[in-house]
Structures are given as C-alpha cells and as structure tokens.
Assembly symmetry: C2
Homo-oligomer: 139 residues x 2
DNA sequence: TTCTACATTATAATAGTTCTAAACTGTTGA
DNA sequence: TCAACAGTTTAGAACTATTATAATGTAGAA
C-alpha cells in the first residue's frame, strides 16, 4: 500500500513526470495488496469507478506502456483480441482458462525451472514464459 | 508432400467441404517438406504468388480458423499486433527474437519437460507452451 | 510568477479481424 | 444427369484495439 508521495517517487525514479493523471493510474494499479491482471479496457473501467475526473484513453495507453517499459508492469503473451497486463512483475507463469477466458497466476515455486538446452548465437535470453492452457474437465 | 486427393481427404475427414479455394490454401500450407510460421497477411501473399485466382481475405480467415479448430494449425501465443500460426502441430516451443520480430522453433528435445506442481480443480491441461524471448546480446 | 518542455486530451487514423448479404457451387436425392 | 438446397465465397462494410495528431494545459525550474 503506497501513498501519494511514494507514487510520485516511483514515477520520478523511472523518469516520468508525476502528473495528476499518472498518480491516479498508480493508485488504481498499485494501491492494493493483491496483484492483478487487466486489459486496458478493464483498467479504464476501474479508473472511472474510482474518480470523477476523466482520464483519456490515450493517456492510459501511454502510461501503461511507459510502466511496462520501466518494468512496473508485465505484458502476458496470450492470443487474444486485446493485450493482458500483470501488476505482478515477479517471475511467475500463468494458467489460461479457455472456458472462462480467465488468467490465473502459477506461483513460481509450482513450476520446475524450465531448462532450454539450445541457444541462438548472438542472442541472450530475456524471459522464459510458460502458458498453461486449461479447459473444463468433462471426463 | 500431399497431392490434391489427399488434401480432399484431409478436408473431408475434418468435416470441411473440399472447395477449390480450400484446396489451394491446403497446397500453400501443407505442400512443403518444412513447416513454417505465418501471419494471415503473409499467408495471403503466399497464396496470391502461387495462383492467379483471387481468394478473399474472409475465406482465408475462415479456413485458417477451421484448420486451427481441427488441430491442423496451431496458434502461437505471443503479444503482437497480429496472430501467428504454425503448421508444425507437434509438441514444441518457440524463441521469439524481439530484435528481428522473428519466431524460431525450439525442438521439443531441447526443452526439459515442464513440470507444473499445481492444478485447478475441475480443469484439465490442454497445452503447456513455453515462449523464450531473446534479444541481441550486446555484452 | 513566468516560461518552456512535456503531458493530456479529443478526435482522427490505422490495422487486424469479423460480419453481412448476395451470388455461387458442391452435394444429395430423384 | 439434373434440380434444389445447404453450405461457401466474395467484396466491402463494420468493428475494435491501438496509435498518431495537433491544439490546449500544466509541472517544474529559474
């Protein structure tokens, strides 16, 4: 749980000007004990619920991308018509429930480290992400 | 390498009517010794190179989705502004080169089996996909 | 306080994908 | 073989997520 001055510090430390709108977005994203997944659409809804000020879609996109580039948010690779983001930036993986269209964290401790026994010359590994697709078990 | 009657059989066996357009799409997708990755855009280009008939975008989308649902194509989970598909439906994983925006197969033998030590009640695992993002090694 | 560079905003533009409705064509049954 | 039907193709419009634009606003330094 962070207060405003901590959001300001967080923004400044990553080279972003702490504007009114960005602080509001911080509040929605980080003022919770639990991390969560969201699409831009859902984020805009959360924001408009928690404030009477209107924040434009463009600002939300710009800010989310800035946070993503700074490592404050992670984008989750998944085939969908829209992008999913995660406020949990620690190393972990995901279940994707294809029936409910729902994303669920897999604790890193519940996944054995993934060993890749091959490399691409001149490239370094940036991330290893596991997506486990699940569906209703009708058997 | 399949001939036309084999495409027809392939289409019929999956409940699709073997129309001229679908056979042409089959030729482009499956008439090669190597599997490959593609976006719809790239597929349309390949098709128009190999025939003078024009196949509409809608037909390509419909057919690719039908093949995906039947398991003849796999969709690769990756964050991109467009969907990637794979004609290699065997179990394997991918490198995604973020510098070149290029997808590269990882042979299944080069990835230690991924062990997930947790389950979601009432759900069964449909697939486990590993995406290894790489970038140029400047170190 | 004033100035300047950066932010915000509404809106337009873009691009991938899906929808629609009319024309067309495999397939089935006579 | 052929007519009729149901599924298919098609062009283009519509839709949706995202990005670009350009005018207006504002944070922060002097």
């Amino acid at each position: 749980m962070l207060n405003n001055s901590q959001y300001i510090e967080k923004l400044r430390s990553s080279g972003l000007r702490p504007t009114k709108q960005r602080i509001k977005i911080c509040e929605v994203l980080f003022n919770t004990h639990k991390t969560f997944h969201f699409t831009i659409n859902e984020l805009v809804k959360r924001i408009s619920k928690s404030t009477n000020d209107k924040i434009s879609l463009a600002t939300v996109y710009n800010t989310v991308h800035a946070f993503k580039n700074k490592g404050y948010l992670k984008e989750i690779p998944i085939n969908s018509d829209q992008s999913y983001f995660d406020t949990n930036t620690s190393h972990h993986h995901h279940f994707y429930d294809e029936t409910q269209k729902d994303l669920i964290d897999i604790d890193d401790a519940d996944v054995e480290p993934v060993k890749i026994n091959t490399r691409i010359p001149g490239k370094k590994i940036k991330s290893v992400e596991v997506l486990v697709k699940v569906e209703d078990d009708k058997s």
